[in-house]
Symmetry: C2
């Protein structure tokens, strides 16, 4: 957008930066809030306080809890997938082992982000309007997580059964995320993922490392 | 409890029966209610109305929503596991195929009962008092589902890795239950479980049927 008052230009960029930073603080606080106090306790006002943002400023960015929470899970997922990609790509001369890949996925699906997303999915399951907002987000995040896993495992989906095995890996870690909701399930999860990595190597016909 | 008025004896049994029937109606209505309208909409009053029971009678059985919902998920799980056991045991001269077992588990974890349990787990994740009530229930249901699966598959858990593979099966169907929360995921689930049955047969060293 252009403006007729070029003298205001110098201050515009910083103001946009500040607005973006405020928005990001709200999104991060919303993920934390959902993961720790749940859907009912996560209102725009509570998140604003947690983020150190005035209620007015928060409401300028997000009018409703639904808007804020959906944007927060979308933002958190994008950040998490980018981080995963970075960790899997470096060092670029070595493909990560199957065990490293499934461990990273296990971490992703037991993070506060997963707990926050779970709150949103469950709330959407009995709220038609929210469900309509959440469905495209769920589909997009699902697709990206699938693509990331295929690439990380170097899986060849043209081989019959491989696509289903990759999907099973993601459904498995989702189930593990649910199992970690109420108790510290990390010891069992580590044993299970180690065994799963072996199964996966056999199913993908990949030499064990 | 004995009574000094033996003449009242004949009517006592039917009254106890009626009380048990009322209780059961409340528990069944609570599972349906949780699965369809979620935690926030499931109050003792709403469940009583759905069950066709007076509010007073409902409150005689369950003082709080937490008490009612925990008892409902416990009751529903016991019924479901008993039904599963019946279906797996008959006909007793033939062991069910791996595919039949994983399909039954897939059904169990996409039923209204799973959706109801999910509401309870998620509510408990941000409510310390409720979590204390839910933890023993979650552990008990988890143990029973595990035992049922081991028996149905005829899995030998003394072989290294078999226990983890059985557990992975349950975590997988739990993940599938979550994936079915917002959309009809049944076609993908069927393909995935068919492939999983093959993987499981290999891992358990069981001839494919």
């Amino acid at each position: 957008m252009t403006t007729q008052a070029p003298s205001r230009e110098p201050s515009r960029e910083p103001r946009q930066d500040r607005s973006r930073a405020t928005r990001r603080r709200l999104l991060e606080a919303a993920v934390d809030c959902l993961a720790s106090v749940g859907w009912a306790g996560t209102t725009v006002a509570v998140v604003a306080e947690r983020a150190g943002v005035s209620r007015g400023a928060a409401q300028h960015h997000f009018r409703t809890r639904e808007e804020l929470v959906t944007a927060a899970v979308e933002y958190g997922s994008a950040v998490r997938i980018a981080q995963m990609r970075e960790r899997l790509d470096a060092p670029s001369d070595r493909r990560p082992s199957t065990l490293e890949v499934v461990r990273l996925l296990g971490e992703m699906y037991t993070s506060p982000l997963f707990r926050a997303a779970l709150q949103l999915w469950v709330a959407a399951s009995s709220d038609e309007q929210l469900r309509a907002q959440v469905l495209p987000l769920e589909a997009r995040v699902g697709r990206e997580a699938h693509r990331l896993t295929v690439e990380a495992l170097g899986a060849d989906e043209s081989i019959p059964g491989v696509r289903e095995t990759v999907q099973a890996t993601l459904d498995l870690v989702r189930g593990l995320g649910l199992a970690a909701l109420l108790t510290d399930d990390s010891a069992r999860r580590a044993r299970l993922l180690a065994e799963w990595a072996k199964t996966l190597d056999k199913a993908l016909d990949r030499p064990e490392k």
